[in-house]
Symmetry: C2
Subunit: 221 residues, 2 copies
């Protein structure tokens, strides 16, 4: 499994279109910098106040940017939201890959599937994933958000699937099982996240253990 190749390929595929690689002009760099500052502030708003807390005023304040500057970069709220959606999906892939590749470098002797599953569970517990959940839930009842969210979600899913097929050629004949295991882990992990306050850590751990057994069993048949 060519780690850095995978990382570059997936990140490139999910890179927001607005990120032109390494601008040289001072203005463009400053512009991209404040733009990123606002996107990060928007993620903060999502995490602390939900999608309803993602207001232009809040973002501007958190980013320490005037509302005029904000309006210059994002004329309307929905433009900002669309940028946040792309940003979140990009970060979601980046955080998972960083974690997974680090774990693989450190403990490459263990089962790759187990390592990937554990890395995914850790990635689900990040603030970026919390922001993703807020967007995913809000997209169900907000048509404008959904118009930006669903295409990004599909793109993310396609990149994810394609990467699995290309990165693990040794299991090419079992890629249906891999995809199923991946879908399964995604469902379990996000569901656990939702019920975590009620379940508590002990029950979470038991469900995680059961899930990993079910996933492992997929490859031994």
């Amino acid at each position: 499994m060519p780690g850095s190749t995978m990382q570059k390929r997936m990140l490139a595929a999910m890179r927001p279109a607005t990120l032109g690689d390494e601008p040289v002009r001072w203005q463009q760099r400053k512009s991209a910098q404040t733009r990123l500052k606002m996107l990060e502030a928007a993620v903060d708003c999502l995490v602390t106040g939900g999608y309803a807390g993602l207001t232009t005023a809040q973002v501007a304040e958190r980013a320490a940017v005037s509302r005029g500057a904000m309006h210059h970069h994002f004329a309307t709220r929905i433009e900002l939201v669309a940028a946040v959606v792309d940003h979140i999906f990009y970060q979601r892939i980046r955080l998972f890959l960083d974690d997974y590749l680090a774990a693989m470098a450190q403990r490459g002797d263990e089962e790759l599937i187990d390592l990937a599953t554990q890395a995914h569970w850790r990635s689900v517990q990040t603030r970026e994933y919390a922001a993703y959940v807020e967007l995913a839930v809000a997209a169900r009842t907000d048509p404008e958000l959904n118009a930006a969210f669903e295409p990004a979600a599909r793109r993310y899913d396609e990149v994810w699937t394609a990467e699995m097929i290309e990165s693990f050629p040794q299991w090419r004949d079992q890629w249906h099982a891999m995809k199923l295991g991946s879908d399964f882990a995604i469902a379990v992990h996000s569901g656990l996240l939702l019920h975590r306050p009620v379940f508590g850590q002990d029950r979470i751990d038991m469900v995680l253990k059961l899930s990993m057994q079910a996933i492992s069993a997929l490859y031994k048949s």
Copy 2:
């Protein structure tokens, strides 16, 4: 498994405190009626507009009730929200039980665990569960809502657990496995709900099948 006994016990345990059983006075009946009308309208708001769409104005309009009447029953928005929380948990139990008991009466020959798991998946696809998800997600970032939501969620979880233990004495020595299977199903089903737009029905069905296998395996060991 005494079906109707279980139903009565669980419903009684989750019954909102405000519902005094069958009032006789006209005023009280009318009052309870409009109150219920507003709660149902609030669920509509949640389903179509998310927690952010649950505004006093929207609810009053959908319920065809003046804002004055609304203020008479719920002085503040958070009072309404707290009532909606109790209402939703009560409906969530009621809908599951209705479905499960009907399925058991019709196909009592199949495995009870399978029937319960399938009934739970159906209950997850109701509008009431959609409203529950909205509340659960919003409660993570809204302290006031969380103050009403978390106790209700814990009560629901306790009722659920106690019912499993009392209703299936033949598996008393395996109730840890039952609880694990239940937690597992809850996590998988809610996670699938979240990713349904991307996964599509085919992948959903495959994950469901895998989950049921994992749950069944819990009892055969």
